[in-house]
């Protein structure tokens, strides 16, 4: 068997009760680029961390060539032949040192190098590494003077000095321009021809089209699909990653009322294409798109956290340009932020206090909070949302993820609003709570506009009357969620072929 061959069988990993990898099987052949796709929380980064020796696996096997691969730590993983270049470039280079030291630093860190630097031989060795990789920089220059692309190439070159069997590139182009990315792809081609197995993690379809020999889609800690052959099935890969088709739900149709939010010629970023968007009363609209497509920027713009570069937003006909969340809330626009643990939960507060946080004024008389009114409201919401707890005085962290998320939703349902924005409301939520939350959002949707940002298509289909697809910080397609052609949505999500705006029936 080829040395540069990596095979994983039955890989499992759990954090507490949360099973992140559930028996994952994956082959990475030598001399081929395998692109790994997966939505947030699919388990990609956990997989990478196991391969790079940061985490220990709970179960399963990894074979590298004909040996078992069980690294004791990151350094050991590198010694055994798996090298990872991480997403954030400056983790991979030491900016204060020169190129030569950067390229040879791992040699220096090896025990037995000796106490003193041998500058000349170091530079010669570095020059050789650089020329082999096709990097043309003076090895005596400090890395801090180089651009992002050169830094990235140096990080990879540094990785290659270990002669790895498997090279993992974790979103390597996320901060590169397209010409810079081109240089990176050339280098990847070179490495491929030298027989290195490459695992390439990216959300950029253009990268994947350019470089992938095969695509692996990951979902919920498992491989959802492997796509190989002459013509790769890109849409199939995205479909497998977003995992449509698991749930069929019937939505009670609603009759959209008058427009609440009108966005005209909105440019989310200075170089993004402007778009129009209208959100109507009673209607639930889902925004979907890949990571970095601008979903969150849209939500943030509506909540006063991001100032669009152009265009106008109107709420109930009045111009709306909030300076911050408190102004947005006063204008009747509420937002439940994504990443519950860092953006929403107040860990030291109990359920009732977490719920009342944005609207304490409503529970206060002359600034004194009425615990009685606060608790009564909390009890009502706990009943309404079926939150599993002993009482409204339970600490928020004693609840399961799904129940915590319900509390975060309840926080914004306690008062009436004109627009409710929910950014990733199903993150870290079990399937039952997910259904409860979706139901509750739809049930309370009358009298307001609702915008839900979700990465998974399933979730959009479950909750929305209308589905908006974003790509490159602009709206690229719009679908009514009735007998909708899922394939068409997937095409739009995958982009950029589907840039023409279409209105499905």
């Amino acid at each position: 068997m080829d040395r540069n061959f990596c095979r994983m069988t039955g890989l499992t990993k759990a954090f507490g009760e949360n099973l992140v990898l559930r028996g994952l099987d994956l082959d990475l052949p030598a001399g081929r680029v395998t692109a790994l796709m997966g939505a947030n929380g699919a388990g990609k980064s956990t997989l990478v961390k196991i391969l790079s020796g940061v985490y220990q696996r709970d179960g399963g096997r990894i074979e590298l060539g004909d040996r078992d691969f069980a690294p004791a730590g990151p350094a050991d993983a590198i010694r055994q032949g798996i090298v990872t270049v991480h997403q954030s470039i400056d983790d991979g280079v030491l900016t204060d040192l020169d190129v030569a030291s950067n390229l040879m630093i791992d040699r220096l860190a090896e025990p037995g190098y000796g106490f003193f630097l041998r500058r000349r031989s170091l530079q010669a060795a570095a020059r050789e590494v650089a020329s082999r990789m096709g990097i043309e920089v003076d090895v005596r220059r400090p890395v801090s003077e180089l651009g992002v692309a050169d830094r990235q190439l140096i990080a990879i070159a540094r990785a290659m000095s270990h002669e790895p069997a498997l090279l993992i590139l974790d979103e390597p182009t996320s901060s590169l321009s397209s010409t810079e990315a081109g240089r990176l792809f050339d280098l990847v081609d070179t490495l491929k021809s030298r027989g290195v197995a490459i695992l390439y993690i990216s959300h950029r379809m253009s990268d994947i089209r350019r470089i992938a020999d095969r695509i692996v889609s990951m979902r919920d800690g498992e491989i959802a699909g492997v796509f190989e052959g002459e013509a790769l099935d890109y849409e199939g890969a995205v479909n497998a990653m977003l995992g449509h088709g698991l749930t069929e739900t019937d939505l009670a149709p609603t009759s959209p009322g008058s427009p609440v939010v009108e966005m005209k010629e909105i440019k989310l970023l200075p170089d993004a294409r402007p778009f129009d968007l209208e959100l109507r009363e009673n209607e639930v609209v889902a925004v979907t798109g890949l990571l970095g497509s601008g979903k969150t920027a849209l939500a943030r713009a509506l909540f006063g956290l991001h100032r669009p570069s152009g265009g106008e937003i109107r709420v109930d006909g009045n111009s709306f340009a909030p300076g911050g969340p408190s102004a947005a809330i006063r204008a009747g626009v509420f937002m439940s932020a994504k990443d519950r643990a860092s953006n929403a939960v107040v860990p030291e507060f109990d359920i009732a206090r977490n719920m009342s946080l944005p609207f304490l004024e409503a529970f206060s008389t002359f600034s004194f909070v009425s615990r009685h009114r606060e608790r009564a409201s909390a009890q009502e919401l706990i009943d309404a949302l079926d939150i599993v707890c002993q009482s409204e005085r339970d600490g928020i962290l004693t609840l399961s993820g799904g129940n915590q998320q319900k509390v975060m939703l309840a926080r914004w349902l306690s008062q009436t609003c004109r627009l409710l924005v929910l950014d990733e409301p199903f993150q870290g939520v079990d399937i039952r709570s997910r259904r409860d939350i979706g139901e509750k959002v739809r049930k309370t949707a009358a009298g307001r506009a609702t915008l839900v940002c979700v990465a998974e298509l399933d979730e959009a289909l479950e909750i929305a009357d209308r589905i908006i697809v974003m790509n490159d910080h602009t709206v690229t397609a719009e679908f009514a969620n009735r007998n909708v052609d899922v394939g068409a949505i997937l095409t739009a999500v995958t982009g950029p072929a589907g840039t023409t705006r279409e209105h499905a029936a």
């Binding site: 909540f303 004194f368 599993v388 339970d394 039952r432």
Partner: protein, 353 residues
Amino acid sequence: MTAEVDKPARVSGAKGRGRSDLLDLAIRYGFLALLLGLVVFFSIFAEGFAGPRSAVFIFQSVAFTGILALGVTCTLVVGGFDLSIGSVATSSMMLSAYMMVVLEQSAGVAILACLVMGALIGVFNGILIVKFRVPDLLATLGMMFLLIGLQRIPTEGRSISTGMTLPSGETATGTFSPFFLAMGRHRFDLVLENLVPISVVFLIVIGILVWCFLELTRHGRLMYAVGSNARAAALTGTNVNGYKILAYAISGVLASVGGLLLAARLGRGDIASGTNLLLDAVAAALIGFAVLGAAKPNAFGTAMGALFVGILLQGLTMMNAPYYTQDFIKGAVLVVALVFTFALSARRARGGT
């Protein structure tokens, strides 16, 4: 990660319950029980400890640090820390003396000037932290050095008292007004004649005010939210920076009140006094975490913490423990209280009760 299973929040076997209840009880009332035990112990073994006069003496020694500690508590609530309180207090003491003795102003003007100074320093601390992103400890540490130096400049490092020689060669003729001195020295009659000193009344009133503010008002609640998760608080429309600045302003004002009371007690602007104020106040506020198992900064705990230290020192003094053991004992109490707070309460939180 959609793999969580709903379960009742609190699961504890019948067997484990008894122990966890006991632990709960220990965490909640352990420190107060210790306080009571201390009082009983000293009443029996330290002659003259049990009695109203001794109690009043303890309260009086606690008053300065207690008031400062309440200010620190406010900054701890928003997740900050104010190291400048000790130097704000001594600056306030020097300023009040300077106003009255050198500038010959009335007591009212001197008090007002000190309170304004405290508030301004607090706001300035807050702005350093909020706008210039200087970490709390470093900003207030810098402020501490700055004030320690600044308060010596007008008198070229000398203490201020009536009749002192000014840098210009003249003699200062101003005096502390009787009204001002009364703040530090007058005692009210309560059952016994001349029992309750005013500084104790100040401590109690300020303690109640701070407690009400932190526990009962929405501003206090929002300050706790800021300290617990500033990002979440901001995303619910809370003016995070405003509350941080407010916390430091409260701390500055309370520290200057402490300094005023100290000046009134001493009757002079003593350059050498007040060195222990910072550490004692911080210790009291941190010990307060352990009271009633709060595991967070709180006004009641802070007051109890200050009292605890006061009782301990007074008792030991009356049992003829040498003065140089005091700091060691304070430190030991603080370490034990911190273990109480962080090890035991953290375990309780993880246990899900």
